[in-house]
């Protein structure tokens, strides 16, 4: 979900496949992992680069709305915790960029595409974090939605992606729990604090539902990705699962999910709920969300401002190499 609207090809039928493609599909169907040196269809490689790249971009852009609150956290402990979480996100970005690099694309290339707007990151990070309760809501809802998507992706067909997902999922539980712990504190606090918690839920509920991507009936890229096991569940399946798990958590907090149509449906053993406003979603994806420009500018500025430092590290490494060479010559 950190990857939405990943462009893929139409589903190829078995008759249209070349012998290599058929062998490849058989391996995927048998649950074998595809490794970087294995033969793979060009479409598989390209779709994976787009998806893993978008996922990686989401991890590092996702640091921005939370980083906003590190200096404003209410206690030193909360500050240390938030710092640790944001630090994890940088690590998750690294795992994913590394997985993408095994497919023959470089990290600098991917970053260049992010910074020039050619590649996307999750729509959710284009919403602002206005108060401290938002940090709770982000951990609880946004990381909660991410987990919903990432747990099945541990079984994805591409080995390096699967292994990155396993590592990330191990660390993700901390993220959701720290968010929910903030919400518990706020919801049990003064009436003003509880209002802040409710306000955060009101603003983040529908954007969180959008994280799973458009409804299955409008999701044009799914069939081939699911055949390749790059995508493990449909958008609507995951969204339903998320709502089913999250509503009781909101109830426990004494907060109200901002959806009048929300109701338990005994027949499907799940909640009925309102769809998010998809026109808003497509506007945000196009670059017209509340914070798109701010996020991208912050990314580009961080990259440009870091140029002298990266150069310095290179100069230092070159110098150290020269020194080692000189020492080796002197020792001879």
């Amino acid at each position: 979900m950190y990857a939405q609207l990943v462009k893929s090809e139409g589903l190829k039928s078995r008759e249209d496949m070349s012998p290599e493609e058929r062998d490849f599909q058989d391996r995927v169907d048998n649950g074998e992992k595809i490794e970087p040196k294995d033969w793979m269809p060009e479409g598989y490689r390209k779709t994976l680069i787009r998806q893993i790249g978008q996922h990686a971009h989401s991890e590092i852009v996702g640091q921005l709305p939370e980083g906003n609150w590190i200096t404003r956290a209410p206690t030193l402990e909360r500050k240390a915790i938030l710092l640790a979480k944001v630090q994890d996100e940088a690590g998750h970005g690294l795992y994913l960029y590394s997985a993408a690099e095994t497919l023959g694309v470089s990290r600098d290339e991917l970053l260049e595409k992010l910074h020039s707007g050619k590649m996307k990151y999750s729509s959710i990070f284009n919403y602002p974090t206005l108060n401290w309760a938002d940090i709770g809501a982000v951990g609880w809802l946004v990381d909660g939605a991410a987990i919903m998507n990432q747990v099945p992706l541990q079984r994805t067909s591409f080995g390096p992606y699967s292994r990155a997902m396993i590592r990330i999922c191990k660390e993700e539980s901390f993220h959701q729990r720290q968010g929910y712990a903030i919400m518990m504190k706020m919801a049990a606090g003064t009436p003003e604090q509880k209002d802040m918690a409710q306000d955060a839920l009101n603003r983040f509920w529908f954007p969180s539902l959008m994280m799973f991507g458009p409804s299955d009936k409008d999701s044009v890229h799914s069939a081939q990705s699911m055949a390749w096991k790059i995508k493990m569940n449909t958008n609507d399946e995951l969204r339903q699962k998320f709502v089913n798990e999250t509503v009781p958590q909101a109830d426990y907090l004494g907060l109200k999910v901002p959806d009048d149509k929300l109701a338990w449906n005994e027949d499907k053993q799940g909640y009925d709920f309102s769809e998010p406003d998809w026109s808003e979603f497509f506007e945000v994806i196009k670059g017209n969300g509340p914070c798109n420009r701010e996020r991208l500018n912050a990314r580009v500025k961080a990259w440009d401002d870091g140029a002298w430092f990266r150069e310095g590290l290179n100069a230092y490494a070159d110098k150290a190499a020269d020194r080692r060479k000189a020492a080796a010559v002197a020792a001879e």
Binding site: G144, S173, F174, Y252
Partner: protein, 95 residues
């Protein structure tokens, strides 16, 4: 005849599909290709793997044992990096 010692290689084996390569040991070989052949003969005689990596031992940079404290002790006080640090009531469901 000159006596040229074969370099040392570190051997990594992927035990099963989907797993990471794991370090299993080392061996001597004149070049990378021979190192793979030797690794196959030494380390996968009982079908222990589906893939082999070899890396010249001299190219491995290891942290120094004396740095163990400064490198790893700081994580000790950061117990909040573990999910169990946060008390979440059972009735909320698994999280």
């Amino acid at each position: 005849m000159s006596k040229k010692e074969w370099p040392l290689w570190e051997v990594f084996i992927r035990g099963q599909h989907g797993l990471n390569h794991r370090h299993v040991g080392s061996l001597h070989a004149p070049d990378a290709e021979m190192a793979i052949n030797h690794a196959r003969d030494v380390y996968t005689r009982r079908r222990e793997g589906v893939s082999i990596w070899v890396v010249p031992s001299k190219d491995i940079t290891a942290s120094s044992p004396s740095e163990k404290g400064p490198l790893f002790d700081p994580a000790e006080s950061k117990t909040y990096r573990h999910p169990t640090f946060f008390d979440i009531p059972d009735e909320v469901g698994k999280m």
